[in-house]
Amino acid sequence: MRYSALSLAWNALSGHTRWQPAWRDPAPKPYYDVVICGGGGHGLATAHYLAKVHGITRVAVLEKSWIGSGNAGRNTTIIRSNYLLPENVPFYEWSMKLWEGLEQDLNFNTMVSQRGVLNLYHSDAQRDAYARRGNAMRLHGVDAELIDRHAVRRMLPFLDFDNERFPIQGGLLQRRGGTARHDAVVWGYARAADSRGVDIIQNCEVTAIRSRNGRVEGVETTRGFIGADRVALALAGSTSLVATSAGLRLPIESHVLQAFVSEGIKPFIDTVVTFGAGHFYISQSDKGGLVFGGDIDGFNSYAQRGGLPVIEDVCEAGMALMPRIGRVRVLRTWGGVVDMSMDGSPIIDTTPVRGLYLNTGWNYGGFKATPASGWCFAHLIATGEPHGTARGFRLDRFATGRPADEKGVGAQPNLH
């Protein structure tokens, strides 16, 4: 049943008892053309575009627990394409374009809200670095504005402009950036993929990749072996664990990134704001919660939880930036296991094992990439060739010396 105001009203008449499951709950079949490991945003988007764009529908998405249980379901929902490097800007901009039509494509309200993303700067050098980035965006046809302190004050009068350790000088603003409802993205892609015949199989953990003579044959799972012509990994923080079974050692470390939500309060923060002199970024959800975060904890972890030092660090920066939130209470903190790569940029590529495809290295910023990641990964799986906007995301870039290192900090994942 299509979703619309009309269908909602129609169903109200029957007490909402006629709605069908958003996706089926099928048992795994013995064989698929493509098995996608990982029911996060990227895996589900890949399935959707495989089916929709490439007509490949004998596809299964295998998820070890419930779909969206990974980072797709726990991120701070920021979408933007305000990157510097030519490897990144076109890709993330392609993603923005897909976001801009996502609700209509999926017939699911993913609440893409282009409320703007403002990165504050606090020094001349930072201003110039942001100008460099903004100019790079403009050269790629992406919107970017460099605004001054007065313009920031007009947008966010309650920031601390008087007692600052690192005075706010201005910001880089991408108005088309914003947020999207994380869970809805997962469910929307799942429902759309399912409607085209994709099997979404929850509570099905991939335990190993089976291959013979350098060609993939399928995957071992907690629900038995599932054969496949092609196997695609979209496991985010868990990628290394499965890839090891195919003999791959990856340029990936799994780290914990925390996020925070406050009690619901009347909305007063209308854009996404990032502090440039500390680790803190914030937006306010449509429910009223302040959704905020900061840096990763810095150590390898699969535990989905972090520690007090980062919690304090984030709140210190939050209070330095907007002391108005001092009496607002943190309601919940959590962590996600993020796939930090050696240059801070993603990997979408084939592997030495034929038929095995890799999608990883999303660091703390792969939610915004969800549509383009799915699109490009589907393209690679279907055609064997990298998509035009993802050519910089190949595995061999570390050997050839072409890292896409936005921060310029080198091969140390916890600094990206």
């Binding site: 790079a136 046809g141 943190v330």
Partner: protein, 992 residues
Amino acid sequence: MTRSQAFRLAAGGFVDRARPLRFTFDGRPMTGYAGDTLASALLANGVRLLGRSFKYHRPRGLLSAGPEEPNALVELRKGARREPNTKATTVELFDGLEAASQNRWPSLRLDLLSLNSALAPLLPAGFYYKTFMWPRALWERLYEPVIRRAAGLGRAADGHDPDHYEQAYAFCDVLVVGAGPAGLAAALAAGRAGARVILCEEDARLGGRLLSEDLEIDGLPAHVWAEEAVRELSGLAGVRIMPRTAVFGVFDGGTYGALERVTDHLPVPPAFAVRQRLWRIVARRTILASGAIERPVAFAGNDRPGVMLAGAVRTYLNRFAVAPGRRLVLFTSSDDGWRTAAAAARAGMEVAAIVDARAAVPPAVMALAPRGATVHLDARVREALGGRALAGVALEAQTGRQRIAADLLAVSGGWNPNFALASHHGARAEWCPHLVGFAPSGAPDGMVVAGAARGMLSLARCLADGWDAGATGSETLGFRPVGARAFSAEDEPSGVSALWHVKGGRAKAFVDLQNDVTVSDVLLAEREGYRSAEHLKRYTTLGMATDQGKTGNVLALGILAETRGAPVPSVGITRFRPPAVPVAIGALAGRHRGREFRPTRLTPTHAWAQSRGAVFVEAGPWLRAQYYPMPGETDWLETVGREVLTVRRSVGFCDVSTLGKIDVQGPDAGLFLDRLYINTFSTLPVGRARYGIMLREDGFVMDDGTTARLAPDRYYVTTTTANAVRVFQHMQFCHQVLWPDLDVQLVSVSDQWAKLSVAGPKARETLRGVVDAGSDLSSEALPHMGVAEISVMDGIAARIFRLSFSGELAFEVAVPAGYGAALAARLMQAGAAFGITPYGTEALGVMRIEKGHIGGNEIDGRTTAADLGLARMMSRKKDFIGRVLAERPALTAPGRMQLVGLRPLAAGARLRAGAHFLAPGAPAHAGNDEGVMTSVAFSPLIGSWIGLGLLKSGPSRLGQRVRAYDPVRGGDVEVEVVQPCFLDPSGERLHV
């Protein structure tokens, strides 16, 4: 005035009737007593409508008497101190308290948004995912603004938080969380054993349920026993009692986060007192004795003001001496609920009926029924009737349906152990049929759970369990055994059977009262495939409100299980996360806000520069003098121009103490540096300095700086200001981890030396007035890149380095940091005849750009030594960090962006760093992007803006023109590609 407290009992309770306190709610003045919470004081005054729900704006009253409260949220205090979403049940009453209801318009009684209730059929769980999609453009313009207007509960404060917070550490052998009977017994045992004990209690008053119940321990009224226990604990040297302190999170390694509400019970914090304090408690053992939370039942209208948890009714009666109503109906499926009927009758309330869903109850329970109360077994409340207040209940009894008038409906569906903290590290919960609830199975390392928190539901068992946990815990840590201890206390009946949902009734039946999640929402989620407990939560928002589902979560799971005909644990249980109680952001930040957000590093000449009117700039942690305006100068460009010209024509000096400085000693010091830098230091003669470049292991430039050799086995290394800490750590890594066999000793001397760079043609003459007799500054004795140990200012040991960043004859003079200010003052005197000027980081930057020296903008982590024109420095004769990977194909390929100088074609045209280069005439398109302007300056000597940049194949394009394209600032300037060095390329000025 006290007469207004119409629902206050004449006697009993722990309120001080001699200390009346005035307060207002929505502007209405009232009076309560010391010892009251805001909730109990409002109840005493007969106020029952306290809030509106999130979605439907339904009228709501008190459900509970504690931190699990979903309904009674208020805005406490005003203006910059306004605290939204404050649970009235946790606010200690103080004189002058002001509270207001929230999320209603125009008033609490008449809330127009309650129209949402009428629209409810259109607004089931997740309705917004199905609509508002068309037309797309209306989402940001119409739909979302409307949704956001309705969003949120209370309002954030109006201004910057005026109060202070702080963070602190505490350490103990045994941490006890909760001071109910279990916690008190645990603390007594551990304390008597001699352990260092911390007892944290969220409440202002210790005792837990003992304050709410009418029980005895060892022949004493339980609350008296609690007072004695507290007295004994206070006398034990190792025991620290922390009331008003909630433990909110379990972190790794036995670290606990706790929030102390230091002065929240006062109108404003007294002078020098903080509002709240964040504690990080490090405990070797922890006993979680956090009690249990009562569970409501889902039935139509179960959210009306006047429907209250049975245990909370007892709390109001016994602890606060308030009758929450006049005529009570009890609806329960647990033995414990019956105690409420007894307590109410004892307090003089009318008990109209006891409705128990069970077909039979034990005689001991039946005995609790007050005389005059009708007992209905195997009966249910179908609906709570009324509007803004409860008027009665509709009953489904063996005798048929009937209505009973009542203004208070006490509900008990059993008790859920409150073990959230035990689950913070992922320990699972197990289903306990005898509780009809979950209990913890497992706990974080070092923690045991005791008392009701692990499902012990009688007083005698809680006491014994707590004692045992305290005794065992301290004994395993090596403290003296205290043995078992028998308490004489009641083993109250605690039978319960499952009672989740009563079907029928017209009104909505709620499971999550704050977020307005109803039974039908739960069933809709199930129907639509959101079957995992976590999907159910996210789709319906169940348990996501400020109470985190403390009362509603298990109820929803029970309902789902019942619907599926499956056991409750098969439905799953959502994850618990810190904080167990919401914590103010300000408390987590402590003192680190405003100017104290991060420490400020001050240079040795800071105060001196301040006295000269310097303008300062943040440079990482440092504050540095940016420029020194003189009277009459109107803008910074003028000042900086003057500073530069003074240096170029005469002399000036600049504090460069912020550079990182590392003393490297040992027989292998030279070898060590050879391995770190791309060039060679083992061949550097003693008394000379050399510029060096170090790479990261990936072959890109990490840092640069000069290194001097002070002795055969001693070097003095400098790093850039920005990388000082990182380079030192990197050196320690290389030494300790990669090459521990080398005999080198490293120590930072960054703060030991004040370092002033004296530059300009008159630098030597100026310095002659500073150095002590016998110090030879001639080029013979101290050639360019020469280093000497001398003395200055009559006997102060100093080091002098003939190094130049500015391109002028220049000396860096280093004195022990305490003499930096004196040296600056002395330089001013000595250079007075030459018109000496101090200069700041701006002029420093101008001069380095004029000379084409690279800085942080060029060393951006993506440039190679060759990109920066320094390929020749790279030694081929040795291994060094980064050598191998610097040879990767793309790092050596032609066409990389490389360092050049840039000059505008139009005189006076302004350059800006961050502009990108395009070939003239090439469309502004990423494919034509050829590089970026990295640094710019106005050169007063050249009379033009100049720049450094990284340009594709730059060095081979000298003389060509490119556009410096800067759309974000509206700039588009044509520039000529020139050598990076604009001034004195042959370096003659260095040698005057």
